[in-house]
C-alpha cells in the first residue's frame, strides 16, 4: 500500500464542500423526480421530500397501460435513429472532403465557421417554413419529417466535430496507401472510416440526443397523436392530467433514462473529444 499523505487543509475541505453542493444541485432534482414517480400521491403532496417505504409502481403501470406513451416513446427512438442514419454518413463524407482538399480548394476552409453559423440559426426560422415545405412533400406530421428537421441542428454540430476529428488524423496514413496504388474510395472505406469510427460514434450519440431533447420541431411539425414523440406525449399528459404528478414524473423519468445512460457513458469520451478539438483550435 502506498502511504498517501492525507491533505485535509481548509482549502481542500472548501473545494470538496462546493463540489458536493454542486453535485446535489444538479442531481437532487432528478432524485426528486424519480422519488415523486414512485410514491403515492397523498404522500407527495403532504411531505416536503417524497421519501417513504410505501413505494408503488402504479404510476408507471398507468402510463404504460392507459396512455399511448409506449408508442410515443418508440416514435422518439425511431426519430432518433433515423436522424443518425441521415446525419452521420453525410456529415462524415463532407467533413472528410473538407479537411483533405482544403489546400486544393481554399473555399473549403470556410467550412468550420460555416457549420457554426448553420448551428446558430434560430430553430424557429427553419421550423415555420418547414411546415409549408413538408406540407408539399407529404412530410408534414410524419416521423421522417421530424428526423429531417432535427438534422438542422445535428448536421452542423456533426460537421464541426468531425472536422476537428479528421484534422487530427495524419495524412501520412493515406499517402502510404496511395503509393501502394489504392484508390480514394478504397482509402476511404478501408483506412479512414475504421479510424474515424469513434468520431462517428460520438456524432451518432449527439444526433440522437438532439432528437431526444427536441421540443420545437416536434411541436411544430407533428399534429396527430399517433405520431407524437415522447416529449409531445408528456405535454399531452400534462393537459389531460394536470395534477397527476406521479404519472407525469414517471413519464419524465422514463425519458431521462436514455439521456442519463448516454451522459454517463459518453462523458469521458466527450471530454477527450473536446481536448482534441481544443488542440485544433490552438
Amino acid at each position: 500500500m502506498v502511504d498517501k499523505k492525507i491533505d485535509i487543509s481548509l482549502k481542500e475541505i472548501i473545494r470538496l464542500a462546493i463540489i458536493i453542493i454542486m453535485v446535489l444541485f444538479s442531481f437532487l432534482p432528478l432524485i426528486w423526480m424519480i422519488a415523486a414517480s414512485l410514491v403515492p400521491e397523498d404522500i407527495l403532496f403532504r411531505s416536503i421530500i417524497p421519501i417513504t417505504t410505501n413505494i408503488t409502481l402504479k404510476h408507471y403501470n398507468y402510463v404504460f397501460s392507459r396512455t399511448d406513451f409506449t408508442r410515443w416513446y418508440i416514435n422518439s427512438l425511431i426519430v432518433g435513429f433515423t436522424n443518425i442514419l441521415i446525419t452521420m454518413p453525410t456529415a462524415t463524407m463532407m467533413a472528410y472532403v473538407a479537411t483533405r482538399f482544403k489546400q486544393k480548394y481554399p473555399w473549403l476552409k470556410a467550412f468550420g465557421p460555416f457549420a457554426l453559423f448553420l448551428y446558430m440559426i434560430p430553430g424557429i426560422v427553419l421550423a415555420l417554413p418547414l411546415v409549408l415545405i413538408f406540407g408539399y412533400l407529404k412530410l408534414f406530421d410524419t416521423l421522417l419529417g421530424v428526423a429531417i428537421a432535427n438534422s438542422t441542428w445535428s448536421m452542423p454540430l456533426s460537421l464541426w466535430l468531425l472536422w476537428g476529428y479528421f484534422e487530427n488524423i495524419p495524412p501520412e496514413l493515406e499517402e502510404a496507401a496511395f503509393v501502394d496504388g489504392a484508390s480514394r474510395w478504397q482509402v476511404l472505406s478501408r483506412i479512414i472510416i475504421p479510424i474515424a469510427r469513434p468520431g462517428m460514434a460520438a456524432v451518432s450519440i449527439f444526433s440522437f440526443l438532439t432528437v431526444w431533447l427536441d421540443y420545437l420541431f416536434a411541436l411544430t411539425l407533428i399534429r396527430s397523436e399517433a405520431n407524437y414523440t415522447a416529449s409531445l406525449g408528456i405535454t399531452w399528459l400534462i393537459k389531460e392530467y394536470s395534477f397527476a404528478w406521479g404519472e407525469l414524473t414517471a413519464a419524465a423519468t422514463l425519458m431521462a433514462i436514455p439521456s442519463t445512460i448516454i451522459a454517463f457513458l459518453s462523458f469521458k469520451y466527450l471530454l477527450y473529444g473536446f481536448q482534441m478539438t481544443l488542440k485544433g483550435v490552438r
Partner: protein, 293 residues
C-alpha cells in the same frame, strides 16, 4: 497529391453532393421561404403569396411588443450565457488536476442535466418551484426564510429570473466540461515554473492559466449566448412567454403569432428579425476566433 485528377473530382463531388443537397433542403430553402413570406400578409391556415412589401417589418418595428421582446431576448441570452460560463469556469477550476474516479463520477453527475429532454427539465422545475406544492417553497417556509410562498413563474417580477435559472441549471455543465478540458491542456511546466518563481495561486491563474484559456472562455461565452438567443424550448415550456409577456423572447413571439394568431407573414418577419439580430454578434465572434489563424 498535388494534382486533382478527374477521378478525384468525381470523388469530391459525390461525397459533397448528399450533404449539400440535404443542407439546402433543410437550411437554405427554408430561410428563403421565410424571407419570401415575411413580405406577405399570408395566414397560417392558407399560406398565399400576396406581397405587401415591407409592411410587416414596419409594423413590427413600430409596435410596442417588439422592442420589449428584443430586450427580453438579449437579457435571456446574455445573462444565461455569462452565469453559465462563470459557473462552469469556477467548477472547472475546482476539478482541475482531480482525476480520481470519485471526481469523474461527480463530473458525470453534474453533466447529466445537460442531456435531459427539455420537457423533463421544465416539468421537474415547474413542480419543484410550484407555489403550493413545490419542494423549494415548502423548504423555505419550513425554515422560515419566507412568510408567503413565492410564485416563481406566475409573478411577472420573478418569471424571467426563474426561466433563466432553469436554463442555466441545464446548460452550465457544457461550459464546465469545455473549460475543464481547456484547463487540463495548460502546460504543467509553465505553472510549475511560475510557482518556483514564487507566484501564488491567484497570480498563477492571472499570468499563466488565464492567458492560455482566455480564448476558449470567450468562445464558450459567445456560443452559449448565440445559442440561447434563438432558443425556444425553455421559455415556451416554462411560461409560454407570460405572465404579461415578461418572458416573451423573439422565437416564442414568432411561434405565438404563427400558431395562435395565425398570422404567418408577421411570424416569419419576426423570425427573420431574430436571425438578423443574431448575425452581428455571430460575425464579431467568427472574426475574433478565426482572425488569428
Amino acid at each position: 497529391m498535388s494534382v486533382v485528377s478527374k477521378g478525384d473530382k468525381i470523388f469530391i463531388t459525390s461525397l459533397l453532393i448528399p450533404t449539400l443537397f440535404f443542407l439546402s433542403f433543410v437550411e437554405f430553402i427554408p430561410i428563403i421561404y421565410a424571407l419570401l413570406y415575411s413580405f406577405t400578409s399570408s395566414s397560417t391556415f392558407n399560406p398565399t403569396i400576396n406581397f405587401i412589401g415591407l409592411n410587416n417589418y414596419i409594423n413590427i418595428i413600430y409596435s410596442t411588443f417588439f422592442w420589449q421582446d428584443v430586450i427580453n431576448t438579449l437579457e435571456y441570452g446574455s445573462v444565461t450565457a455569462i452565469v453559465q460560463t462563470l459557473l462552469g469556469l469556477g467548477l472547472a477550476i475546482l476539478f482541475k488536476d482531480k482525476k480520481g474516479s470519485l471526481y469523474t463520477i461527480a463530473k458525470a453527475l453534474i453533466f447529466i442535466p445537460y442531456a435531459l429532454p427539455y420537457i423533463s427539465v421544465s416539468l421537474v422545475w415547474k413542480f419543484l418551484l410550484d407555489p403550493q406544492y413545490g419542494a423549494v417553497n415548502k423548504v423555505m417556509l419550513a425554515l422560515r426564510l419566507i412568510n408567503d410562498p413565492i410564485d416563481f413563474f406566475g409573478n411577472p417580477s420573478n418569471a424571467m429570473w426563474s426561466v433563466m435559472f432553469v436554463t442555466i441549471w441545464q446548460f452550465f455543465p457544457f461550459a464546465m466540461i469545455i473549460l475543464y478540458a481547456a484547463l487540463e491542456s495548460v502546460p504543467k511546466d509553465r505553472i510549475e515554473a511560475a510557482q518556483v518563481d514564487g507566484a501564488g495561486p491567484i497570480q498563477v491563474f492571472k499570468h499563466v492559466t488565464w492567458p492560455y484559456i482566455r480564448k476558449i472562455f470567450f468562445i464558450t461565452l459567445f456560443l452559449r449566448f448565440l445559442f440561447n438567443f434563438g432558443k425556444f424550448d425553455h421559455v415556451w415550456l416554462l411560461t409560454g412567454g407570460g405572465p404579461l409577456r415578461v418572458t416573451e423572447t423573439l422565437p416564442v413571439a414568432a411561434w405565438i403569432i404563427s400558431f395562435q394568431q395565425y398570422n404567418y407573414g408577421v411570424a416569419t418577419s419576426v423570425a427573420i428579425l431574430n436571425l438578423l439580430l443574431l448575425i452581428p454578434f455571430l460575425l464579431i465572434f467568427l472574426l475574433s476566433v478565426y482572425r488569428e489563424r
